[in-house]
Symmetry: C2
Subunit: 117 residues, 2 copies
Amino acid sequence: MPEFFHDKKLYYTPIEFALNHIGGTWKMPILWRLHKNILRYGELKKDIPHITDKMLTTQLRDLEEKGLIERKVYAVVPPKVEYSITEKGLKAIPIIETIMKYGYELIQEAGIEFPPK
Amino acid sequence: MPEFFHDKKLYYTPIEFALNHIGGTWKMPILWRLHKNILRYGELKKDIPHITDKMLTTQLRDLEEKGLIERKVYAVVPPKVEYSITEKGLKAIPIIETIMKYGYELIQEAGIEFPPK
DNA sequence: TATGATACTTACTTTTAGGAAAGTATAAAG
DNA sequence: CTTTATACTTTCCTAAAAGTAAGTATCATA
């Protein structure tokens, strides 16, 4: 049986495992931005349309736990926290790019208007 | 605002649109098998561990509606139905391969035992 | 007359992802 | 002594995805 447990979850395929790391609505948009710049919480929030505080925080925590990003807290008031991508996170970037391009292709095929980049 | 409606659904990014086509637990496993062989319903079911009738049917219907696969019914009893991948579906294969490979990498990094291919 | 083979459908329940809205902590500035 | 700035946390709620279990149709064969 090609299946396995990890971190209290059962996976059937490597695909599932991959999507657990970079799937969902928000993880790729976050990683994509962090591979271009180190960003503060508030900057990420402004940059990613529609994301809520809850989603931003939970996804950042999740990505950190998986080792794809790093969180750096400055001991100042008001708080300052910077997020950056890790070596491990960088490995996801080509995959994200591939998926993004495929998405653009599908959008074009479907004849949908969409601002390029 | 880089967002768009399509087929009664709102998408924020091309990534979301792409994952609507090939995302979820079952679509990639199905497409992957069909790019290697034309398969009957029962063959797919045997070949994909854990998939239920409900999931197999709904995903096949969805993939057909999106134009990624084709359904061919033979007028015989008991029923015979063959599924094959389309030109459009073939365009997803390199993306699936990329994600699969990434999944394998993550599995290795995590030190998980997993049968290769 | 019952059984088997195939490809489903239907109804129901559980699980997971995502979203809305409000609240919290700290210290400086007005 | 109230407001501002920042990065959250918490509770509650909805919707979507997935799973369970049983049922259906047709005809040939035993």
